[in-house]
């Protein structure tokens, strides 16, 4: 689960990690009051709150450029906020449809410190799981404010990593290693050790999937400040964090994906035109792959789970058909334990209920498969049967391309 920057910074503040003071607003009527609560002497940052990166370089569908804007005064801040709030921001990470900005975050602009070479004094810090070691890893770099993937690719020596032993947690010497690696000294060194320790505590306490600060900034006044904050959580651990669940913003999630999750279905929309309905995540992924292999384009990932029921199949059909790009459907079920006939009955009912007019290819394999195929054949519906995954994929691609 993802949260907004302003929510992440509220968590940071709770853990004693310094961030620029800010106020989030959801309506233009609140602008003045909000701006009155922060110090605007150095100017104001106006930041669109969406769950996607690349906001600063994004463009609104109304033509306005930049989802994050420096504003020298309150008037300009209100002008910028007005251009953003309620409008749709397209960034490198949102896809062409963009995201509607429903919250604006005003923050005090920080006085950027400079390095001897004149560059801004910005760093990178993140905490996440290292899959190779199954341990948390803290990643730090002197190269902040830019894309870390780029730094890792071109100057890997500027990426510093510390593995944390989960049996004992982050040790003080490790926090010091990071502060040394970032080249900090004196009071900034101490600030860094404290900040790393507190962020790790947040990461661990709240079952975070990732905590990322980019940039981590040194101000002219000599303060270490988290200028941006990105925090995501392990969905499997949300049951023990009602305070985090309360931060969920359904506006940022795909309506069809939310609907699917209500039925225990795992659905992800893609931009192709052949929908698929499959049991099991690995098989669902490879069903998408085989559609593409034979020249088609998958419209979604949809895993109905290992023990799909009639109701789930019916709900899955409705979700699939909610996507107007869909021109055909491929059902691929390997009914190891579950009864193929139950699935076949579910498919027939769903087709009748939704009045499906699109081509439908069904590949059933496994338990009681003959009865399942008989049910499909006896339904009087135009359901094409596929014998293998390859056969079924070729058939649906052909049917869709004929239209």
């Amino acid at each position: 689960m993802n949260i907004h920057e302003y929510q992440a910074k509220e968590l940071f503040e709770k853990y004693g990690v310094a961030t620029p003071k800010g106020v989030a607003v959801k309506a233009s009527a609140e602008y003045s009051t909000a701006l009155g609560q922060i110090n605007t002497a150095n100017g104001i940052m106006v930041k669109s709150q969406i769950h996607a990166g690349g906001r600063g370089k994004g463009t609104f569908t109304n033509g306005f450029k930049g989802g994050v804007k420096f504003s020298p005064n309150k008037e300009k801040a209100i002008e910028n906020a007005t251009a953003m709030l309620g409008n749709t921001l397209v960034t490198a990470q949102t896809g062409p449809e963009g995201r509607k900005v429903q919250t604006i975050y005003f923050t005090e602009a920080a006085n950027l410190g400079k390095r001897p070479d004149g560059r801004d004094d910005e760093y990178y810090l993140a905490i996440l799981l290292d899959r190779a070691t199954s341990r948390p890893v803290i990643v730090a770099s002197t190269e902040g404010g830019v894309e870390i993937e780029q730094v890792a690719h071109s100057t890997p020596e500027k990426i510093f990593k510390v593995q944390v032993d989960p049996a004992v947690g982050l040790q003080p010497f490790q926090a010091r290693q990071i502060a040394f690696a970032l080249g900090l000294s004196g009071d900034l060194f101490k600030q860094c050790v404290t900040l790393v320790t507190r962020l790790y505590q947040l990461y661990w306490d709240k079952d975070c999937a990732m905590v990322e600060v980019n940039p981590l900034l040194v101000t002219k006044e000599g303060q270490l400040l988290a200028l941006d904050a990105k925090v995501s959580f392990d969905d499997n651990a949300l049951f023990r964090h009602p305070d985090i669940v309360a931060l969920r913003d359904l506006n940022e999630e795909d309506a069809k994906e939310i609907e699917a999750s209500k039925y225990g279905l795992s659905y992800i929309a893609l931009d192709g035109n052949i929908a698929c309905l499959v049991n099991g995540a690995g098989l669902a992924m490879s069903t998408m792959d085989i559609i593409q292999h034979f020249g088609g384009s998958p419209a979604n990932f949809l895993d109905v789970g290992g023990g799909a029921t009639k109701d789930q199949v019916s709900a899955a059909f409705k979700i699939i058909l909610g996507d107007k790009n869909v021109k055909g459907i491929l059902v691929n079920i390997f009914g190891g334990i579950m009864d193929c006939n139950v699935i076949a009955t579910g498919i027939v009912e769903a087709v009748k209920e939704t009045g499906l007019k699109l081509p439908l290819v069904v590949r059933l394999e496994g338990n009681n498969v003959q009865a399942g195929k008989a049910t499909l054949a006896a339904s009087g519906l135009t359901i094409v049967s596929g014998d293998t995954m390859a056969d079924a994929a070729q058939k649906i691609v052909k049917l869709v391309n004929q239209k």
């Binding site: 079952d207 499997n236 099991g280 992924m285 490879s286 990932f301 293998t388 390859a390």
Partner: protein, 301 residues
């Protein structure tokens, strides 16, 4: 032989009184597996009965193992309690803990895996279909089925199968069986980012197993476990290996059902993994329908 479990391996089931655990305990009993104990805290002394087989239920894993000689546990307990269930197997010094449970928090697994270091117990999973060593009876009856895989699709034979995904494993197994080729052992290692046993661990076991003559390795996007295994295979594996990677069409940054199936970096993609598989001499299946054939192109059975 086979790897990890044999026909006569004695198995206990944690969570045998829950719907999920009970259902699959019954199916394992029907398959002829040696389900010798159940564990549900507070229900010790009760008996789980199916097809005339009486399975005693114990309060603790240690007690169940001591009384029945069980060496392997199948874990079906709900996610909030699953890491605890795994560590209880470790405490009882079982050979193997097979965690079927889906949805265990990463933090719990990070701690559990750390606590297992240096201990006797090997973990398979979590979020996995389990293990099957097929039997020699009709429809492979009499084998050791631990977890949720359908038993009847198997056939005893010479191919070792390792995969993260359940249904994709069944697909490969069924293709093999339909073409007349049986399996030594089929291992589902699970779709989570933190798991107990990797592709490589299983490949090493297959490499040493005299009954296994060829291997199918099924992987997916996310992480570098398949790559690590492929590089080892190139250097050390004595047996022909076919492979498949799912997720060629998956977009970056989206979790594809399995918590571990997320493209993070350039090396997590299907294309990158397939390229490395080929470089390492693995026969790559172009589609999931081609998994058995990919093996049979390099191994005649």
């Amino acid at each position: 032989m086979s790897i990890l479990v044999k026909e006569n391996t004695r198995v206990l089931v944690q969570g045998i009184t829950g719907d999920f655990g009970a259902r699959h305990a019954r199916l394992s009993i029907e398959y002829g597996s040696q389900i010798v104990a159940g564990v549900t805290p507070g229900k010790g002394g009760q008996v789980f009965e199916h097809n005339g087989v009486k399975v005693p239920i114990f309060n603790t894993v240690a007690e169940a193992a001591k009384q029945t000689g069980a060496t392997v546990s199948a874990i079906f307990v709900p996610p909030p309690f699953a890491a605890d269930a795994i560590l209880e197997c470790v405490d009882a010094d079982l050979d193997l803990a097979i965690a079927i449970t889906e949805g265990i928090p990463v933090r719990d697994m990070v701690r559990a895996k750390r606590a297992m270091q240096g201990r006797r117990t090997r973990l398979i999973g979590p979020n996995c279909p389990g293990i099957v060593t097929p039997g020699r009876g009709e429809k492979s009856h009499g084998g050791c089925r631990i977890g949720i895989a359908p038993g009847y699709i198997h056939k005893r034979g010479k191919v070792g199968v390792v995969s993260r995904s359940g249904t994709l494993t069944y697909e490969a197994v069924w293709q093999l069986t339909c073409k007349g080729h049986g399996q030594s052992t089929c291992v589902g290692i699970g779709g989570d980012p933190v798991n107990g046993t990797s592709h490589l661990d299983v490949i090493k076991l297959f490499n040493e197993d005299p009954e296994t003559e060829a291997i199918i390795m099924i992987g997916e996007i996310g992480g570098n476990a398949e790559v690590e295994a492929a590089r080892w295979i190139k250097e050390h594996c004595k047996k022909p290996v076919a492979g498949f990677i799912a997720g060629a069409t998956a977009p970056a940054g989206r979790r594809m059902g399995h918590a571990g199936a997320v493209i993070g970096g350039a090396e997590d993609t299907a294309a990158a993994k397939i390229k490395i598989f080929k470089e390492c001499g693995i026969s790559v299946a172009a589609t999931p329908s081609d998994m058995a054939d990919a093996l049979l192109r390099i191994w005649k059975g």
